[in-house]
Amino acid sequence: MRAKRFEDADLERLLRDALPDDLPDEAAAGMRDRIAAFRTAAAKEERGSAVSFILARKGAWAVLALALLIAGALLQGFQSPSPLAKKIAFLKNKLSNSEPARPADIDGGIRIPGLKEG
């Protein structure tokens, strides 16, 4: 167990010594430049994403409205008419196809068998 503990401590010391905390100024400057570039890009992206979010929201509304229109048209096209609508259509059809009524038909339309005319 003592040997194991020594091994752990030894390994940790080896790693810490081999990877010292000695960031050179030149490397630090390069990394700071990258941070600055990243922050600029992130700010741009954030602005862009805000605009694209608004545009996407408007677009979503447009698509939804269009979908509702299409759905309405399809529903009307495929739905079978109600019984009342059927009757109205039938009557309209009948009326448009029937002959116009003649005055004779109106006046003397009633004939009583055995009764002479005039």
Partner: protein
């Protein structure tokens, strides 16, 4: 603002020097370190909602930073292996150096140490570096890695055991002189 709770100046800015130093300690090459830092920042930015809501944002940020450095290390290791066919893995360091010769000598083992770290499974490498370089507690490591403290301990223990095996030849242990079997 996608995530109003995320504030770069309060969350990242104070950690920038530490992130830079950590990446440098692991990679020790200017272009690689700059790229790794940029990658880490990009990941943090992508996960900014998670970072802002995290119970320990600095630990998570350091973990992402170390993960980025480890990724770079692993890529370098793969590239080196690819570029130098026939060169045995982990034998590019100066093995003839005397392990008892002090820190300067230990730094000569650095390539082998970095290669050994790069060969670890990613989570083990992250856990070991968080523990040894960042000196985080197991609780902090667990929170940063999204696992239990016991799992974090296992990652560190296994990583250290693997490193101890791979770096056995650099151990300044009188019982382990060159020529002796491990």
């Amino acid at each position: 603002m996608g995530n109003p709770a995320f504030d770069y100046d309060s969350l990242i800015k104070p950690l920038e020097p530490r992130m830079m130093r950590t990446i440098w300690r692991i990679l020790r090459e200017k272009p690689a370190a700059e790229d790794a830092l940029q990658d880490a920042l990009a990941v943090i930015w992508k996960k900014r909602g998670t970072v802002a809501r995290h119970p320990n944002p600095p630990a998570l940020i350091l973990r992402i930073t170390i993960a980025s450095a480890v990724d770079s290390l692993r890529k370098t290791r793969r590239r080196l292996r690819h570029e130098v066919p026939g060169l045995p893995k982990d034998r590019r360091a100066d093995d003839s150096a005397d392990p008892a010769a002090g820190k300067a000598e230990e730094r000569r083992f650095r390539p082998a140490i970095l290669q050994a770290v790069g060969r670890l499974p990613k989570r083990q490498a992250e856990a070991v570096l968080l523990r040894i370089i960042e000196e985080l507690s197991y609780e902090e490591i667990a929170r940063a890695m999204g696992c239990t403290e016991a799992t974090a301990r296992v990652h560190v223990m296994r990583g250290k055991a693997a490193l101890a095996r791979r770096l056995a030849r650099f151990r300044p242990d009188p019982a382990r002189q060159p020529g002796l079997k491990e």
